[in-house]
Symmetry: C2
Subunit: 379 residues, 2 copies
C-alpha cells in the first residue's frame, strides 16, 4: 500500500522551486548596506536590510528586530529558555495555550516543564473571558498566540481580542505573549489581514515588554533554509539581546543578504506570495468542496481559511477513530489530540488536515479516504 503523508504543513516541491532563483543568484558582492562583509564574523542581530524587511512585515521599528537563523521555532524555544534561565519565570510557571493549536508550541512548554492551560479558540481568537480570568493567577507566565491564520483553524484574531490581550492586567510580573506571526502574509484568497498592531497596543497600555513577535521566511522562501526574526521592546528586547551577545558571534548573514536582495521589501514579498497562492488556493478549494459534499449528512464541521497551511475539522468523539480509519487505508493525518496540550483533546474532536505537501492526485486520494473515514466513523 502506498502511504500518503498529510501530517505536516510542509510546502510542496513546486512551492520550494519558486525560490530557486534566489538560491542560485550570484551575489554581486558580499557587503551589507552598513559595509559589513557578510562572510565574516559579527552582526549578532542581523544585517540592516533584513531588519528593515522584517520591520515592515511586522509593523515594528527596525531597532526592535533581531534577525536570527533559519528557524523561528528555534528562536521561540531559545526565548522561552532565556526567560526560564534568567528566572523571570519560576519553577511552577504556567502557560495559556489556545487550543486547538500548534503542537510544537506545546512541545516547547513540555520540554521546560511549563504547565499548559487550555483555552478554547473562537473565530475571533482565544476566548478572552477565559484568558482575562487566567492571567489573574501570578503563576501564569505567558501565552502562545498565532494571530493570523491560526494553526490549525486558520482564524484571524479580531481587533477586540488584540486590544484585550494588550490591556488586560496580568498578575505575573514577567507575563509575556509569544506572538507567532508565522502566517502574517500567507493569505491565498482576498486581502492580507491587518489586525491591530499588538506592540503598539501594548505600548499604549504601558505593557511594551509584553509581546515578543516572531516570524520567518520558511513559507515564503524555502522551509529548510530561510531567515527568521524576533521583535520586542523594552525589557524583553534587552533580555534577548543579552543572551544573543553570549550565544553567538552572528547568524548566517549570507543567507540574510540573499533574502534581502531577492525580496527587497514588502512589495517584493507580496508579489512572490501570489505565486504561492496560485498553488495553494486550488488545493484548499478541493478540500473545502470535498468536505462540503461529504460531511453534509454527518455532524462533522470544518473551517474555511483564507490563508495559512491547515484546515481544521471537528468531529466530536470520533477524531481518534477517523485517524485510525485513515491510517488503515494508507493516509496518515496529524495524530488526533496533537493540536491540544499533552496530546489530549478532551472531546476527541479536532483533526488537522494538511493539504499543501501533496500533489493534486495524492490530495484527491487522501480526501476520498478521509471523507469516507468520517462517514464511517459517525455511522
Amino acid at each position: 500500500m502506498r502511504i500518503i503523508d498529510a501530517t505536516r504543513g510542509r510546502p510542496h516541491a513546486l512551492q520550494l522551486a519558486l525560490c530557486d532563483e534566489m538560491l542560485t543568484a550570484q551575489l554581486e558582492n558580499y557587503f551589507a548596506e552598513n559595509g559589513m562583509d557578510v562572510r565574516n564574523y559579527g552582526g549578532g542581530d542581523g544585517i540592516p536590510e533584513m531588519k528593515r524587511i522584517f520591520a515592515e512585515l511586522l509593523r515594528v521599528d527596525m531597532n526592535e528586530v533581531i534577525v536570527g537563523g533559519n528557524s523561528s521555532l528555534n528562536m521561540m524555544f531559545d526565548c522561552v529558555a532565556t526567560f526560564v534561565l534568567e528566572r523571570k519565570w519560576g519553577a511552577n510557571s504556567k502557560f495559556i495555550c489556545p487550543s486547538p493549536g500548534y503542537d510544537r508550541h506545546f512541545s516547547i512548554c513540555e520540554y521546560f516543564g511549563i504547565e499548559m492551560i487550555t483555552v478554547p479558540m473562537t473565530p475571533d481568537g482565544p476566548d478572552m473571558d477565559a484568558v482575562e480570568e487566567l492571567v489573574r493567577d501570578p503563576q501564569v507566565a505567558g501565552m502562545f498566540c498565532v494571530p493570523v491564520f491560526s494553526n490549525p483553524q486558520g482564524y484571524v484574531y479580531s481587533d477586540e481580542t488584540i486590544a484585550r490581550l494588550a490591556k488586560m492586567h496580568a498578575a505575573h510580573p514577567a507575563f509575556r505573549i509569544i506572538w507567532d506571526d508565522a502566517y502574517t502574509i500567507h493569505h491565498f484568497s482576498g486581502e492580507r489581514p491587518q489586525p491591530l498592531n499588538i506592540l503598539d497596543e501594548c505600548r499604549k497600555n504601558d505593557n511594551e515588554s509584553r509581546p515578543i513577535l516572531f516570524t520567518s521566511f520558511s513559507k515564503i522562501s524555502v522551509a529548510g533554509a530561510s531567515v527568521s526574526c524576533a521583535a520586542a521592546a523594552g525589557e524583553s528586547f534587552k533580555i534577548l539581546q543579552k543572551r544573543i551577545a553570549a550565544q553567538t558571534i552572528g547568524p548566517d548573514k549570507i543567507n540574510q543578504l540573499r533574502h534581502a536582495r531577492y525580496f527587497k521589501n514588502k512589495n517584493g514579498i507580496e508579489a512572490h506570495m501570489k505565486k504561492h497562492a496560485e498553488i495553494l488556493r486550488p488545493k484548499f478549494e478541493l478540500v473545502i468542496n470535498a468536505f462540503e459534499k461529504n460531511f453534509a449528512a454527518t455532524n462533522a464541521t470544518f473551517t474555511k481559511p483564507l490563508g495559512g497551511y491547515f484546515i481544521s475539522v471537528e468531529i466530536p468523539g470520533n477524531a481518534k477513530h477517523v485517524c485510525q480509519l485513515c491510517k488503515d487505508s494508507g493516509v496518515i493525518i496529524t495524530e488526533a489530540g496533537a493540536t491540544f496540550p499533552y496530546g489530549i483533546d478532551p472531546a476527541d474532536s479536532n483533526l488537522r488536515f494538511a493539504p499543501t505537501f501533496l500533489s493534486s492526485e495524492e490530495l484527491e486520494k487522501a480526501l476520498e479516504v478521509f471523507c469516507l473515514s468520517v462517514q464511517k466513523a459517525v455511522k
Copy 2:
C-alpha cells in the same frame, strides 16, 4: 589617526574569497544522499553527507554527530544551557577554565552564573595535577578545552594530557568536557597534529558521556555562514538530541549540502586548508620574526604556534600598560585580561595578538607599534 583592529581572530578577506566558488556554485539538485529535499523541513540533526565529513574530521562515528547551524559557539552555549535546564548541573556549579583561554567560553560561564576556576596552561595542555585535584570537588561540573592550537597560545594537548582527562575520576555525576576542536585541521606549518582521540579514550575508561566535541567550518569556508557540529556518545548524545527535537524542525540543510558537495571529504578540506595556510604562514612568520628581534632585550616571551589564529605574549605586570600604549598609537589588541575568567589576569601578563584580519601593510604597522609599546613598558 587610522585605527588598526587586531582584536579578534577574524579571517582576512582573501581567505573568505577562497570559498567564493562554493557560495556561487549551482547545486545540481537539492536532494541529500538519503533522498531528503534539503529545501524542506526535517532532518533536525543534519544531512548524512555532512555528518560523515564531520565524523571523519573528528574521528568519531557519524551516528555520534549532530550537525547544526553556522556557529559552534552557539552549539556550545546551547549545550551548557541544556545541562543547566535539565538540572544536570545545579545552581552552585563550577567550571575548570584552562587559562589563558578563549574569552567567549568564559562569557558562556558568566551568562549562566557558573563559577570559573582558572587552571594554568602548559605547552602540553592544562596543568593536569591541578585538574585532577579540582575534579574531586562534586561541584565541578565541567571544563572547557581547546585541544589543538589552543586559543591564544596555539598549544596542542599531549597524549598524556588527553589520557589523564579521559581517565581521571570526577566526583560530579555529570562532569563534562566541552571539547572545542575549533582548529582541528588549521595547521599552517608541518603536519596536522593528531592527538589521542578523546572519545575513544573516555570510552575505554567507561566515561563515554564525558566529552562533547565541537567544531565548525567557520575558519575553513566562511566565518559568518559555515556549518558547525557537536559530537557525543551515551547520555550526552541523548540529552542533546532531546533538546534539538523540541528546539527546531531542522538546521539550514542547503548550506550543509553546499559544504558537503564542495569539500566532499577530509582530503578536500586538507587541499583547501593549504590555501589558507599560504595566506596565514607569512603573517605568523612576520609576527614571530618581529617579536624575536624586538623582545630580545625585554622579559617578554611569546609562543610560536604552527596553526590556529593567535600568538600569545607574556609580559608580567605590563599587559594592561602595553595594551594602553598600543591604543594610544592607534592599534587595538585584545583587551588585557580578556584571556582569563572574569577578565582578570592575576599576573597582568598575557596578551593575545591576532594577525589574521590585517593586510600585510596593517600588520607591519601594528607590529611596529606593539613591539615599541612592549619595549617602552618594560623600561
